[in-house]
């Protein structure tokens, strides 16, 4: 986000509070200001395939920091802001952004309103995905919490309604509805995905509408929590073509070249739909979790003078995980995660994925977490990977500019976090 964006959100908080003050919402004689922060530095290494960063050579481009301030000016109102920066290969590059910033008016426990930039509850753990010490693993299961689509899935700006509804003998239901828009980072991983075929250069995004609704049910069975969320986004992007299109004809080696290099294009994704079903069971120090993702998106590219190109993606993914707190110092976790670019062709044999294992990415992960004090967290983890469905093409070109992948590979990660 640009500096003007940061200033914009600070204004929203200041003016939002200013509007609420005359309405009598602010009534407390004095209020506390809470300040919290974190700073993480990580390292990743893979034996094959660059994933998220230049991991084949080992990379320290894997860090995050954040600082938040919040206060409760009245019994029902809370305002706060978190500034954050991250670096993950090409993503973030330590630019400071507004992670979240909003005024939260909790009229009743069953109905509250938030205005501003709000974290997206798509899956049980998405809201806290930026904060390493809040989880056991270093990388969340990538089938659901895809880092390569992170900039679109973290937060939206707009208005949100939420609440807690006690169901008495049937547990407790919490819900959240968000309506607004979002900033997709032109230099973020979503752009890298669009530009992966090597034909497009994206200039800007326009998110027309984003809507999320979800609920979590704490069931009467103590420790069991079920949830779902639905995210709809209607967005478009514009840019230009970077290459002429060469079309083969039935008489090789002849081909037809369409001189489209430099032409403007418009990409439209009118009905991006992401649904996540979640389950979590906590029994003493053991937490079991599983989530399933369905994601449909119809990408249409318009180039003046040419027929529109349309591609319907039907993605799915799932994971199952277990974490166990051994004692005050140590925690361990395992998960198995599987992501598929095409849920109707899980082996990549019908669709033109080259190589076929580029249609999926399966990940068996083992993590160890060490908390020597309240403020410090150290983690180590290993991933056994099968497939390259989440590895960017641009990161895996050989010296001749040809994509080069290996099906079976491993990734090691280490991370240290200080928080307060």
């Amino acid at each position: 986000m640009k500096k003007t964006g940061v200033r914009f959100w600070i204004k929203v908080i200041v003016f939002g509070t200013g509007i609420l003050l005359p309405l009598g919402v602010l009534g407390a004689e004095e209020f506390e200001i809470h300040v919290h922060g974190y700073i993480s530095q990580g390292f990743m290494f893979s034996n094959h395939n660059n994933y998220l960063a230049n991991t084949k050579n080992g990379t320290f481009q894997f860090n995050e920091l954040g600082l938040n301030v919040s206060t409760e000016p009245s019994d029902k109102l809370r305002v706060g802001i978190q500034l954050a920066a991250l670096d993950l290969g090409d993503l973030g590059n330590d630019r400071i952004t507004i992670d979240w910033a909003y005024a939260d008016y909790r009229w009743q426990d069953w109905l509250g309103l938030r205005v501003g930039k709000v974290k997206l509850p798509t899956g049980f753990y998405n809201k806290a995905r930026d904060v390493d010490m809040l989880r056991t693993s270093i990388l969340l299961p990538q089938s659901i919490y895809v880092e390569t689509f992170r900039d679109t899935l973290v937060a939206m700006k707009g208005i949100s309604g939420y609440g807690e509804i006690p169901l008495h003998a049937f547990g407790n239901l919490s819900y959240e509805i968000l309506l607004g828009s979002m900033n997709i980072d032109r230099e973020g991983p979503s752009t890298k995905g669009v530009e992966a075929p090597g034909f497009f250069k994206v200039d800007k995004y326009n998110v027309k509408k984003a809507l999320l609704y979800g609920a979590a049910w704490e069931t009467p069975l103590k420790g069991l929590r079920l949830g779902f969320s639905n995210l709809h986004i209607d967005f478009e992007y514009t840019g230009f073509i970077t290459k002429d299109l060469i079309m083969p004809v039935p008489y090789p080696p002849y081909s037809i070249t369409l001189p489209i290099k430099g032409l403007a294009f418009t990409g439209v994704t009118p009905d991006f739909l992401r649904t996540v079903f979640s389950l979590e069971y906590t029994w003493k120090d053991l937490i079991l979790a599983a989530e399933y993702l369905l994601q449909d998106q119809n990408n249409i590219i318009h180039i003046p003078g040419l027929p529109s190109m349309e591609r319907l993606l039907k993605i799915d993914g799932y994971y199952a995980s277990a974490t166990y707190r051994i004692n005050d110092w140590f925690e361990t976790g395992v998960y198995y995660s599987a992501f598929y670019k095409d849920r109707h062709d899980r082996k990549g044999t019908k669709t033109p994925y080259n190589p076929p294992f580029n249609v999926f990415q399966k990940d068996a992960c083992l993590s160890l977490r060490f908390d020597p004090s309240d403020n410090w967290t150290l983690k180590l983890e290993g991933h056994l990977m099968d497939g390259t469905g989440l590895c960017f093409l641009q990161d895996n070109l050989n010296e001749n500019g040809v994509p080069e992948y290996k099906k079976d590979w491993y990734l090691l990660a280490a991370k240290m976090t200080f928080s307060f």
Partner: protein
């Protein structure tokens, strides 16, 4: 040898059981209620319930890691101490809540509750200070 070890285990189990502290839920005396169910206590200490019926905002007071804190979060909040800490940290780092006040000892927690309207906390033994002890109806 084996038999004596078994008896020692049984003895330690009962000693451990007997020194397991009782948990008393206390509030500021202005709070207009005298009893709560365990689930209601859990909802309060997880921030799902933020207001007393007709008595304004609930202000949560907790203790630093201690035996009474461990017993309280396990018995009432159904979380381990680390899960409880992580739960509130998550709220703080996602903007959905503010970490409750944490007190070093029961005396300072009692002092705070006695002087703060809407405050609620937990202690291990009855006190003569001006706080209200809440009856747990389904203990």
């Amino acid at each position: 040898m084996k038999k004596s070890g078994l008896w020692l285990g049984v003895l330690l189990f009962f000693i451990g059981w007997s020194v397991f502290p009782d948990v008393l839920i206390i509030t500021n005396p202005d709070t207009h209620l005298s009893s709560l169910k365990k689930d209601e206590v859990r909802d309060i200490f997880t921030g799902k319930r933020t207001r007393w019926n007709g008595s304004g905002k609930i202000i949560i007071a907790t203790l630093e890691d201690s035996e009474i804190h461990r017993v309280f979060v396990r018995e009432f909040v159904k979380k381990t101490p680390s899960q409880f800490k992580n739960y509130w940290r998550q709220k703080a780092f996602t903007g959905e809540g503010m970490i409750p006040r944490i007190f070093r000892d029961e005396e300072s927690l009692i002092e705070f509750i006695a002087n703060t309207k809407g405050a609620v906390g937990y202690i291990s033994a009855p006190t003569t200070k001006p706080v209200k002890t809440i009856t747990i109806t389904d203990k």
